[in-house]
């Protein structure tokens, strides 16, 4: 096992960690657009408020790790996907500040405006991350010397949009299962139903995308017959089949776990088939960015491995601690954000 393979796996793990964790709070945000009352929207926010920020750090660390381990991928792909990435960043800014700003004033128009920003700011990245993945899986227009030869509108092709819908359905399922854990009463029951709907949509879209991939992305099936890929596909299939069963049986925690396994197994399956390719080139296999031609020097990879092995166990430790502190049903009143004076007004009213 060489350092390049280890970092290929580690970047995959960071992406999977991000998709599992921010996946649920992006999903909750997208679902908040369907919430029926102010109280329900408050609860959508309260359920993720203490933890969403830590989840987004997975994205930042993933970006940093990609820069450190595979700088050519970081440079070529991010500059190539320029406007798409700017859209994602704008959406993430909208989500971050609306979570903080929405409870600062009591006016209903103020809250409503931030709720829309929060919902759209969550929906858009859920979709666009998938669109980006779809484009990568098709192969990006990378020519000799890692040069980008594509255009923004070329990114909005039907296959990539289909993969975008797959990721949206997946995050909505993940979000609904999480919110079900943290909500009570009518909302809890509705989230169970929403999860089943999202599951149905995901299965249909995922099947369509898989079928299309045979034509659009032959790289995805390069190792189909190997034991590793067969095992990952089996895990994916079992977890996917378990989601609706566990959801109907009222096992909310296990259903969320199964949905998380679907995400991780899905990402690892793609990674196992692609390796050593990170980004296929649509202009010829020789131009693909791989874990070898796009990598940093062995010394940097080794140094970063030490950083990851010392730092990540700590991170996982206190992340688990934080989730334990905030487990159980969310209460809107527990939000720190109600100013003392605002609380006074509420108490008087």
């Amino acid at each position: 096992m060489d350092l390049n393979l280890i970092w290929f796996v580690l970047v995959g793990v960071l992406i999977a960690g991000y998709a599992v964790l921010d996946g649920f709070d992006l999903g909750v945000g997208a679902l908040s657009l369907l919430a029926r009352t102010r109280e329900e929207r408050d609860l959508h926010v309260a359920a993720i408020a203490p933890v969403w920020d830590g989840n987004e750090v997975w994205l930042l660390t993933g970006g940093g790790a990609l820069f450190a381990a595979f700088p050519a991928v970081y440079a070529t792909v991010f500059s190539g996907l320029y406007l798409a990435l700017v859209l994602v960043l704008v959406a993430l800014i909208a989500r971050a500040v609306s979570l903080e700003f929405r409870h600062q004033l009591e006016g209903s128009r103020w809250v409503r405006a931030w709720d829309v920003a929060y919902g759209v700011g969550s929906l858009l990245p859920s979709l666009l991350f998938g669109v980006a993945v779809g484009n990568v899986l098709r192969g990006l227009p990378i020519g000799p010397g890692l040069e980008w030869r594509g255009s923004f509108l070329g990114l909005l092709n039907p296959y990539a949009i289909l993969v975008g819908l797959v990721s949206l359905a997946l995050f909505v399922m993940q979000g609904a299962l999480y919110l079900r854990l943290r909500a009570e009463g009518a909302l809890e029951a509705r989230m169970a139903r929403a999860a089943l709907w999202a599951w149905g949509a995901f299965v249909a879209l995922f099947a369509a995308a898989t079928g299309w991939s045979f034509a659009a992305s032959p790289y995805l099936f390069a190792r189909l017959g190997t034991p590793l890929v067969l095992a990952l596909v089996a895990v994916l299939a079992v977890a996917l089949a378990a989601v609706p069963v566990l959801t109907r049986a009222g096992k909310a925690g296990l259903a969320f776990l199964a949905s998380s396994v679907v995400i991780v197994a899905g990402i690892l399956t793609v990674a196992a088939n692609l390796f050593p390719v990170i980004v296929p080139s649509s202009l010829g296999a020789a131009h693909a960015l791989t874990a070898y031609n796009a990598a940093s020097s062995p010394r940097t990879l080794a140094t970063m491995l030490v950083v990851a092995l010392t730092g990540m166990p700590l991170v996982i430790g206190y992340t688990v601690f934080a989730y334990r502190v905030f487990r159980g049903k969310a209460r809107v009143a527990a939000s720190y954000g109600a100013d003392d004076a605002t609380a006074a007004t509420n108490a008087a009213a």
Partner: protein, 459 residues
């Protein structure tokens, strides 16, 4: 429009706006930690009340800092792809380390601190505040490491890539991390953040003391902010500012000459310019009008010897000089503000010792008016550091094997795949969003400060 110019403008706008928030976050996080500690250990509800107000200011500031920081993490790849390819082997590691060692810590414990008051023990709740402060301070370390490597690269060698082009490869992580400018710059920047936090606490408290002298929590905040503010304002200049300036004199002589306004080389007794207006007539050498200077002082400050020679800007090739006006003006205004910080905090501390601070409306008003000034000083310092580094995106230096490194010019480091129209689109988008965010942030900070005057309702 010119893609290079737009990429630089966008970087300046996005980093300039982002950099408003981290110093306040770091400074306030430490002030919250201290107030929570005093409130907890002394069972003093007034300190807890102060901490709650500061915690709310911290939360809003942190949120905007995070939102605008995400842009920075990706902008090297989106807009500076050739730079990223050249430095990725070295520059990416500190950014990743920031996430692993600092940002996870800061974000996770921020959630625990803000939402955990009722769910955690007092000890654990205080510890959460401390971890936010530690995380934000570590975060600054890794960012300064990355930026300092651009200023004084070390621990690397330049190698040819098989596909054409070159890149800098790591030879020693320790040397790259602790390159010659890391520690002087880190101490200078973190102390600046502590000064910033102290001025927020002192100013916000002064505003409440002016409104109601009976506000015990505000009087405590005032004393805390003023004492902390004096200590760190002094440390900021001496020794940390001084050590940083000496390091620039040693490692980046062109930047040093531009900062100090030394345009003609001096064999000894180089003067320190206190005031001047840089200008350059067409074709002529750069000059300084209306100059006020102290003979010999620059030689002594920079090298500890009145007889030390200091090289002037005229002796550097024209295409290796930083923009003179902006570098000089931002640096000198930063120094001016730093002097004000020491003066106002020293006077306020004197008043506090004689027990008359809250009866001194002019001092209190001056403290309120000074709240934004440390942020301005941080921005000016950053402009001086970054504009002074030009025309280099990676400053020339020496490779690990002793061979000279010619530097990487900013002009050849931007993404070739991104056109001017695309950058203009994103620049207008970020500009509009940031203008709105800045106004909202300011509005909320002022509102939260005002509301703290209302009585706390019984739970």
């Amino acid at each position: 429009m010119d893609a290079l110019f737009l990429a630089r403008l966008q970087f300046a706008v996005t980093i300039g706006f982002h950099f408003i928030f981290p110093p306040i976050t770091i400074g306030l996080a430490w002030m919250v930690t201290v107030s929570e500690w005093l409130g907890w250990r002394r069972q003093d509800a007034e300190y807890v009340r102060l901490a709650r107000l500061l915690g709310r200011l911290l939360a809003v500031t942190f949120a905007v800092g995070v939102a605008t920081g995400v842009v920075m993490e990706f902008q090297f790849g989106t807009n500076w792809a050739r730079y990223s390819t050249f430095v990725g082997d070295i520059f990416g590691a500190p950014l990743a380390a920031e996430g692993v060692f600092a940002f996870f810590l800061e974000s996770t414990f921020m959630g625990l601190y803000l939402f955990g008051r009722e769910r955690l023990s007092k000890r654990m709740h205080w510890f959460s505040a401390l971890m936010v402060a530690v995380g934000s301070t570590l975060s600054a370390f890794w960012i300064i490491v990355a930026n300092s490597w651009q200023q004084t690269p070390a621990g690397f060698k330049v190698v040819d890539l098989p596909g054409g082009g070159q890149r800098a490869e790591l030879t020693s992580f320790a040397e790259a991390v602790f390159n010659p400018s890391t520690l002087p710059r880190y101490l200078h920047v973190v102390t600046a953040a502590l000064v910033t936090g102290a001025f927020v606490v002192a100013g916000v408290s002064a505003w409440h003391v002016l409104r109601s002298r009976a506000a015990g929590w505000a009087r405590k905040g005032l004393r805390l902010g003023v004492a902390w503010g004096l200590v760190f304002s002094v440390l900021e200049a001496m020794p940390f500012g001084h050590l940083h300036a000496q390091q620039v004199a040693r490692t980046q002589p062109a930047k040093f000459a531009a900062l100090e306004g030394l345009y003609t080389s001096q064999a000894s007794n180089a003067p320190m310019v206190l005031f001047g207006v840089p200008f350059q007539s067409a074709g002529g050498p750069p000059e300084l009008a209306a100059k006020v200077e102290i003979p010999g002082l620059l030689s002594w400050f920079a090298f500890g010897d009145f007889n030390a020679p200091v090289k002037g800007i005229a002796d550097f090739p024209v295409d290796e000089r930083p923009p003179l006006w902006l570098t000089f003006v931002s640096f000198h205004n930063m120094v001016l503000l730093g002097t004000w910080f020491i003066a106002i905090m020293a006077f306020a501390t004197f008043r506090a010792f004689t027990g008359r601070l809250h009866e001194s409306p002019w001092v209190l008003k001056a403290l309120v008016a000074s709240i934004p000034l440390p942020v301005a000083a941080c921005e000016l310092g950053w402009v001086a550091a970054e504009v002074g580094r030009q025309p280099w995106i990676v400053h020339p230096g020496v490779q690990a094997d002793g061979a000279p490194f010619a530097g990487l010019r900013t002009a050849v480091a931007h993404s070739t795949a991104v056109g001017g129209g695309e950058i203009l689109t994103s620049l207008l988008l970020f500009g509009a969003i940031y203008a709105g965010l800045g106004a909202l942030w300011l509005f909320l900070m002022i509102r939260k400060t005002r509301l703290a005057a209302e009585p706390i309702p019984a739970a």
